[in-house]
Symmetry: D3
Subunit: 238 residues, 6 copies
């Protein structure tokens, strides 16, 4: 089984971190292919960049010329998953939803700890549309930008733990979701520090994608995610 | 005052229809500029096309080289409005929200009559995120594709009236919103046929955009719609 | 075009403030007529007074003997708008809804800053019924009674700014609505102090009322707001 | 114990029907006093009439010059209960809420069968504000006006049973609430015809009012329903 | 009329406290029978114990060999009420719902003060399913375990008052519900200390059960609470 | 890895069907152990039977004397999962939630087709509490009792397909969940007949349980699902 794990930003090192994290939990026999979009922002922290990423991710997946069995969109709170579902016949898993869906099996309420405050409403909106928000205790920002996670991992860890502890104590979260693809790999440490289960969206998405393939299930094509109607399109594919 | 009215598809004749409709209600002294995206689909009827439109609309607005006072995104149920709000300092009005917001001043519940069934969930989702769905009685599809509205206006009128009447009788709608930018100009006839107020999103958006400008109000830049942070972006602007 | 702007209390000076504020944004050619109810309380700060105002406003409008094109009910969070909609064939705009509806075009979430704590539930309930509450971050009380706004405008300003700042910082509001007709005229100063858009319900209502008239739209009369059935009524009109 | 049961319309015969129904379930030692407003409409079927009734009910209760222990507002879906709660220190029970609250102890979902279609949104809105709507399967109109209930009781019975049966079969209601004070006394027959519990708001309200008095409980006066502040009021009391 | 008041735990002294509290408000002619389950936990403070109690309560009621007119399940936030409704033809009243339903007649919002933090989600979930959560301002834990209420009533009183005051000041509660059957009898003192109405679920349930019997109403048997189908069951009745 | 798959009824043949279905998708190296409760009903179709099953499932799992890595509760819409989560330190997966959670990755809305109409509210309530109901288009009953699924599989298939088709056409479902553990194995046929993805809760639960184990995640023990406090319990373990 081959699963494409697509980063939403153009920073190759983040793609690599994500892909390694994915490989760490993939079943034997599952090949993880990390993809970086050909265009877009070096980090995605807002609606403009996220819309650009939506198209860039679709573009990158359509340009991939080998067969594959599932796609993971590895951006937290980003636009675009529905477009991929229309274009493809294989399952598409968004890490925002994968993390929330997994967290809900583990506790009565979960919180997300993400990067900048400005991305909080995006994550909340995606969870609301996905129908996964009811048991969300809070979405909290650590104040660390995406690229700072790489540049100063120790400070990032502290900032994330601080917000996770507040989520547990004040918002009554019982599970923490790591709200950024670039936080891949921090889960175990944060679990030890906070004493609650910590869900990383990338690894959760890998197990869900594998499961869907194993169950022979893929996107329903009868209405919302039907294949686009044939029509004249300018500037696509690039 | 200059207001940009941006079509979401690449069909010039639809841009022209929309711009004319906008001019019909614009105040003296308001200049309406109709814009057609440089890329994208000839009609937008699904998520993939809508995400492409989101970027194409932002691209077209950023390429406009004259000053302007407000922007209207003239696609019903489409992605992208939040991106424009980040990029611009002038008010941005989406016709989906303009129509719903206006309808809510006119009756206890409103319905939207749109084109194809596959676009219904997109419209519902946009209204839900906008916080304008509670008083929505239904979103109904006429079964007419966007381009068929131009090709066979008589059949389109009949199909829209049929669904509007069902919305009134079965869903208890008291107001009808025309759920497609391409339906601009049909409102008066449908009002006469159904006996209820009919809201066209384009004209509603023009009055709202003018009002915001007149009131000296524009998008709040403190959090969700703050200007994007400076960063390296590949492939933008085109 | 003639728009009646009806105060909900019997204090003439407040009617005058409101009418002046309305005139400041009215289009050339729009005549603003300020009306004070013939009965009711000198300020409206609770349900009893608000129900009395509901009838007093209807009474005052029905007693007006000139033609008019729209009515604005200029009380924040008050009862009665639905009754006016039944009695009239012209558009009726409530400033509570006008402010919220306008704020939602400007930011992801808005807060209302009003007078006394006891009026907070009334405002929340009106916004809930209007279907405009989902994006309301909070309704906060400044602690200033309606008449104190006139008596001590400096203290009022400070108290309002304090709550607005808390709404922004703690409740994540991105827009502030001034929650009292008597706050008309304070918007610009508060915007400068807080750095976010500030919506005054009276001016917002004027632009909405003008827009509805311009669009040829008025209240749907087919169900909820149908003209009252002819029947024997005692004590009305007064 | 003395309980005031206040009709919302000015039709004495309806007041009498309601009071008799109330007496039929009152405990020994409970005196039921039926009151008819001094002004208002002969039947209440819409917002204008309902707002007028709100004030007329408060007026009638304030004019009552004997001590009393509780007040029942005997109009289904009407405005005004909150005003009474401010003015009084004894419990106030609205029959809309009494019926819904009682029905929820009897089945998983309940429906209301009322008079005219135009009153349906009023009832729904009152139930929503009261926080009692979640388990409401539907509010259905029999098409019989309030006064027709008295004029043609047989036709009324048939029309109500027809809608009750539809509510059970199509909306999955398990309990029926009679949605009009003037339906008092029909419950037993409708129960026999439909096979489900039928709740009459007037009798339900009597038991709730008696219970609150017995438990020594009355309206909380600390915030929403605090006694109105002393202020100058014109035209009140009449 | 005979009403069974069934404790959910196996501590006889708590059954006695509850029964006495019930008798204090029962009408003349109402016999209160306190029942203690034959099996289960000495106090119920979590899901496992609550599910065990659900069965134990049903078991105890089915083993009661005298006629009775209504059953009260005297555990706050516990599972099982729906099972009793299937097994019996007389009304079943849960004290969680009785308290909330009563509180909603007394103020705009109510809070529950319960025992341990771990029981808060159970209570919230029961109120949500019951459709009585919308006007719940908060559920707060006093930190006192069920049995500590008996062992150290003074400390319990202080802990409950502290949380009640926080509920009033911070959560804007206007009414307090005592969130544990074992708190029976504390209501009057807490009312004096906090100045707001305090609802005890047991006494509220007695008046509701009596009312339903008096009104001739019982559980609807047409769908959700229909009598169980005849089938082979192992290990029941015990 | 060893996963316990626990039937909720006492019919061994259904346990066997479920276990076989589970084995069909289990990974190599995963041992599936099917367990039948020692007491309870031969089929679970209502609240009383479901509460009995809740305890019987916990009892059966606690009596299992070998190590295990996860537990699947294989009853659709049944009570009890939260109790297991308190008692155990390994992940617990309920098939109702597993199916819904999986369906939400496959389409915009899903429907459940279950057995008898009386079980519909149970399923809806479990989905509501689980926070998985927002995207549920409908829960429909086939009218086939649990044991009839075994006795007349052809009739069952037809009845399920009929409701699935209605769910797709009328309720706009894009995915179908099989709403009964006893429907295990019917998914492929129904998918072929309806053209949409069909999710079987048992197989979905197996992949989720395996995933949680693989990710090193288990139930959060800090609040709602903390281990029960030590206390005196009568009649447990049996």
């Amino acid at each position: 089984m081959r699963i494409l794990v697509v980063n939403v930003n153009t920073t190759e090192s983040i793609t690599e971190t994500i892909a390694q994290q994915a490989r760490a939990v993939a079943s034997p026999g599952t090949e993880i292919v990390g993809l970086t979009p050909y265009f877009g922002a070096e980090s995605v922290e807002g609606n403009f960049e996220s819309y650009l990423a939506a198209i860039a991710v679709m573009d990158r997946v359509m340009a991939y010329d080998q067969p594959f069995d599932a796609v993971i969109q590895a951006g937290y709170g980003e636009h675009g998953r529905e477009g991929l579902q229309e274009l493809l016949n294989v399952p598409v898993v968004d890490i925002t939803e994968a993390a929330a869906s997994t967290a809900m099996f583990l506790g009565h309420a979960y919180s997300v700890v993400t990067t900048l405050d400005r991305t909080v409403p995006l994550i909340e909106d995606r969870l609301k549309l996905a129908g996964l928000y009811q048991r969300c205790a809070s979405v909290r920002a650590s104040g660390m930008a995406v690229l700072e996670l790489e540049e100063d991992p120790l400070a990032a860890m502290e900032a994330i733990v601080r917000q996770a502890e507040l989520a547990i104590r004040e918002d009554k979260a019982e599970v923490i979701c790591l709200g950024c693809g670039g936080m891949a790999g921090l889960d175990e440490q944060i679990r030890q520090r906070t004493g609650v289960p910590v869900v990383d969206g990338v690894t959760a998405a890998v197990t869900i994608a594998e499961s869907l393939v194993r169950l022979g299930l893929s996107t329903s094509k009868i209405r919302t995610y039907a294949t686009p109607r044939p029509k004249k399109i300018i500037g696509w594919p690039r």
